[in-house]
């Protein structure tokens, strides 16, 4: 369990700001205590200071997980978000995509979202921006990257991909052992 290097902190916040913009600050500055990011075996955990102090008594080799895993750094030093971060990021999401009930299952199986499955999209979503995917009943389903901007979406074919799949809550079942 170690602090993130400056380089990695930067990469992490850059990635987070793609989804929640300036709301990243709210993750760091919380009224209910001090929260921080910690790194263990290339995985990034979001932990409250209190939990962290308790976890310090456990030898790092025995510690499997602590707090919430936000994602991991790949071997090429890129940050990848995990679904587990969804609960923290969804309330602050800047651009959102709502899926029609018929397209929900496809997304939860790890597929991209075609135009035909798009229920609603928040205005002024840019191309390749990080988005949070919701069901029509406002249940956050996962993360994606907008393949088309809002304006382009209007004129797209029903089969063109509108949102690239990145992470979804189906992974809790599909990729149980990789999450943590």
């Amino acid at each position: 369990m170690k602090r993130l290097s400056e380089e990695r902190t930067k990469l992490l916040f850059e990635k987070l700001s793609k989804y929640i913009g300036p709301n990243v600050k709210l993750l760091i500055e919380r009224p209910d205590g001090v929260y921080c990011f910690r790194e263990q075996r290339d995985r990034i955990y979001y932990v409250s200071e209190r939990t962290l102090k308790l976890a310090n008594t456990i030898p790092p080799d025995n510690l499997i997980s602590i707090g919430t895993c936000f994602g991991k750094f790949t071997k090429s030093n890129k940050f990848k978000l995990h679904v587990t971060a969804l609960n923290y990021l969804a309330p602050y999401a800047q651009s959102k995509i709502w899926l029609k009930p018929s397209a929900e299952q496809q997304f939860l199986y790890g597929h991209h979202v075609p135009k035909s499955g798009l229920g609603r999209i928040s205005e002024s979503t840019e191309k390749y921006q990080g988005v949070v995917v919701y069901s029509m009943s406002d249940l956050p389903l996962g993360f994606g990257a907008a393949a088309r901007s809002t304006a382009e979406c209007k004129h797209a074919d029903p089969l063109t991909t509108v949102c690239f799949h990145q992470a979804d809550i189906g992974e809790y079942i599909r990729a149980e052992e990789e999450l943590l």
Partner: protein, 341 residues
């Protein structure tokens, strides 16, 4: 006659000292003459064993040895310089080896790679028909070299190369470099197999080394100043080689950030976030175009609403013209100049 009797008496006395060569056993012994081994499966005589243990065991050993020797005498004998010799049959008992089984030779780097990727060795024929020379050319050897010379009597000058450059010399140079590289790799494989530490050689030839090698070289070179590269400038988008801590001065493999208090860490993190959020937005063409399209659409929809059905009959004519390039108003750059990204 006295002498004869005496000798007979003596020999009888002698014979009494020695026991007979025939030994009675309930069960036959098992023999492995190759290793001079006899196994006696008969039970001990418990009474004798408890009464006079030593004598009994000595007798038993003698009897069994006698039986073994009897077996050996049955083998065909030879006489070699006054000595009677027997050739023992091959041994039947398998003995465990004294030394451990030798380890398999460690794979070379290529063999390891090929194994991982499932690359199989292809058998190449020793001779191949050369269409150009109209003869059979061997895979390697002096005849192959001769054929190569014969074939490459003229060489093309690549389009981007210096026309005065000697392509033949270049080819020879490239060949010798390949050979020496192979030799280096061979030696490195041997060193790896024998677990000898070899000093690093650095970047060999910038023309043929990989991007990764060059990046490593840059990273190490930058750190190799008196101040361990602290004051070295970075190029934009320059990446540091990773996994080179062992060979970079002043770097340790496991560098840990010093512990700080939670509040201080928070303020540090906030500063980083600020710097990310306050980055000067670059001119985003995508965004500008999207905004433009959107404003146009809004205008159109407003127009539709205001004009209502009146224009519905002549709409076809009015909107039939396709927009032509270069006639619209430009909003952004006035043209020319360098692209600012």
């Amino acid at each position: 006659m006295d002498v004869v009797n005496k000798i007979l008496e003596n020999s009888a006395l002698e014979a009494e000292k020695f026991k007979s060569i025939s030994v009675e056993k309930n069960l036959e012994l098992e023999y492995d003459l190759g290793t001079l081994l006899a196994i006696d499966n008969n039970d001990f005589d418990l009474k004798l064993l408890s009464q006079r243990k030593n004598d009994y065991l000595l007798d038993l050993a003698r009897d069994n040895t006698q039986l073994l020797l009897n077996q050996i005498w049955e083998l065909p004998t030879e006489r070699v310089e006054e000595a009677i010799v027997v050739k023992l049959p091959p041994q039947k008992t398998v003995l465990p080896r004294m030394k451990p089984v030798p380890r398999p030779r460690p794979l070379t780097k290529w063999q390891q790679f090929a194994k991982e990727k499932g690359i199989q060795k292809k058998k190449k024929s020793k001779l191949s028909w050369d269409e150009q020379l109209k003869k059979w050319v061997p895979l390697y050897g002096f005849k192959k070299a001769k054929a190569e010379i014969e074939k490459d009597w003229v060489l093309e000058v690549p389009g981007n190369a210096d026309p005065m450059e000697d392509q033949f010399a270049k080819k020879i140079q490239a060949k010798s470099e390949r050979v020496s590289k192979n030799e280096l790799q061979r030696l490195r494989n041997i060193a790896k197999a024998k677990k000898v530490k070899v000093p690093r050689v650095g970047v060999m030839n910038p023309d043929v080394s990989s991007a990764k090698d060059l990046q490593t070289a840059v990273t190490v070179a930058k750190a190799s100043t008196a101040s361990l590269g602290k004051f070295q400038d970075k190029l934009p988008k320059e990446k540091e080689a990773r996994g080179v801590a062992a060979i970079t001065p002043g770097a340790s493999r496991k560098r840990k950030m010093p512990p700080v208090s939670g509040t201080q860490e928070k303020s540090e993190n906030l500063a980083i976030v600020e710097s990310i959020l306050n980055k000067k937005p670059k001119l985003n063409i995508e965004k500008a175009v999207a905004r433009h399209i959107r404003s146009e659409e809004q205008e159109q929809s407003q127009e539709k609403q205001t004009s209502g059905r009146k224009s519905s009959n002549n709409r076809g004519k009015a909107n039939a013209k396709k927009p032509k390039g270069g006639k619209g108003q430009r909003k952004g750059k006035s043209g020319g100049g360098r692209k600012r990204r």
